[in-house]
Amino acid sequence: MKHPLNVMFLTWEFPPRIIGGISPHVFYLSKSLAENGVKVHVVTCDFPGAPAHETLDGVEVYRVDSYRNPSPDFATWVYLMNLNMQKEAATITARLPEKIDVFHAHDWLVATAGIGLKHVFRKPLLVTMHSTEIGRRDGLHTSAEKMIAETEAWLTYEAWKVICCSQYMVSHVKWAFGLPDDKLVMVPNGVNLQVYENIRKHDLENFRKDFGLPEEKLVLFVGRLVYEKGAHVLVNAIPKILDKVNAKFVIVGSGYMKEQLSAIVKSMGLERKVLFTGFLDEDSLLKLQCSADVSVVPSLFEPFGIVALEAMAAKSPVVVSDTGGLSEIVEHDLTGVKVYPNNVDSLAWGVTKVLSDETYSNRLRVNAFRRIQENYDWGKIAQQTVRIYEGVLGEYSKSFWA
């Protein structure tokens, strides 16, 4: 490359606006790309109190007035927001002294803006598909859901490459939109190790006292309390685990199953052994993850499974159900324990095994942390992403658009 790579990210969420997983993903990816010498321009939606333009660790962030147009419903709002976003992005691109080399869109929420920018500036468009409508809804049932799915299909059609964060999502997206193999590429999600490194410097012994007695092992679940996250499988496994080891179960998160789960705990007479914390602030969550003797991810459906990755970065041994993205993150007996999905006995076995054999669990911690450093480090993910950009630009340079 003669000049540093110039990339424009389109995303509907970027800190401090956090709705789901796209926001931290784009935050860390853009930061790590900047550290690798890429100039990143992020165009995103506005947020109360956040500036319209700022430079964050070398990343240029532009926030678009996204509620300018009144809208009858969410999907129409998305397309109108895309008009404002594209206008802003087009103006920035036209005025920049250096040219944008690649437009990179995140999910259908910025589909029309990305497609439009590709054609008016004749530059390659890449997309990261973080999820799909057909996956989220388990089928397409309404006109709005079909419209969103068709917009996703159009976006993947227009994209030069479609990036997914797990092999599971690669095969799902290939199935959902009928894409050719050579258009799909897997780049995992990352985790920031430094954040956990800093947390470990705190007095975690003292912090731990708020959650369990010194003789109790700490079993941690983090996730929305909804069916597909499988907290009920863990709750039903608690008596079986307590038969073998003394432990305290900390369940972080909220959702429609919360009352049902507390009712089960009450009926078992185990209120003193289970703590429902609800939604937790980031600092306490990080400290808990670093203090846990085992982190359990009993999901029934999981496109990626970032919670398992975070636990491994926090050096907490993991027990996960063998499904979706989790199957790829964890290697059984080496970096964690895999159990049968939706199987109480299997889960109880896995948790008990980790809690009752310290040599085994320490081995898992060490191996898992090393695996995270090797495969899920944002710096390496940024380098992988740069290689994808360079590959695309190599192909582009031979096209009549160049």
Partner: protein, 208 residues
């Protein structure tokens, strides 16, 4: 001079009177030595055609077939209008002098092309949402009005077909009257009036 006309109806697809008007206009422009392209919608008859009258038309379809309303249909269709216009621009050695947009439907595409590629546009008003849906102030109507407003704000020149319409645009959107030019289709000087406005707007006329 190379001009692109944006209209959501054009023969053989006729919805109202805009199809006939834009057909007549484009024919007259070609006769007056203006290289005329026209981008419009058709559900299946897509692509570039040189019509017998010398107008080069590009018809685009909507890649998204299922919709929940006219707004989502229009907003997604705009990307294809944008793509067609960008193709004309690049194939013509990056030189298009002017885009003439009829009504609100393809205003989004014109606004992006102006900001991205510096092509000025004229907003030719046939009707306004306030008159089509009188006293309707639901979010749906407000959204259409916000697109009309964007058009008035971003256009180099606005044309209206009567003095009454010019006053209405001023009343509803506070667009400066000097920016709004009246071109009466029934006037004997009609095509010359159009050509004068085109000459004025070419190369990005000032925002009066």
């Amino acid at each position: 001079m190379r001009v692109i006309i944006f209209t959501w109806e054009y023969p053989p697809r006729i919805v109202g009177q805009l199809a006939e008007y834009t057909s007549n206009l484009s024919t007259q422009l070609v006769r007056n030595k203006i290289e005329t392209y026209l981008v419009t919608y058709h559900p299946y008859m897509t692509g570039l055609t040189e019509e017998p009258n010398g107008v080069k038309t590009v018809r685009v379809a909507n890649p998204v077939r299922t919709h929940i309303g006219v707004l989502t249909w229009v907003l997604t269709l705009n990307q294809e209008v944008e793509r067609a216009a960008a193709n004309i621009y690049y194939q013509a050695n990056k030189s298009v002098d002017l885009i003439d947009v009829f009504d609100w439907h393809f205003i989004p595409a014109a606004v992006i092309l102006k900001n991205a590629l510096g092509i000025p546009f004229i907003y030719s008003v046939d009707s306004l949402e306030d008159h089509r849906s009188h006293q309707a102030d639901m979010p749906f109507n407000m959204a259409i009005k916000s697109i009309e407003w964007l058009g008035f704000y971003e256009a180099s020149i606005v044309t209206a077909k009567s003095g009454w319409m010019r006053d209405e645009i001023f009343r509803i959107y506070q667009t400066p009257k000097e920016k709004i030019h009246v071109i009466s289709p029934s006037s004997s000087t009609w095509i010359n009036d159009v050509l004068k406005i085109y000459a004025l707007a070419q190369g990005g006329a000032s925002r009066a």
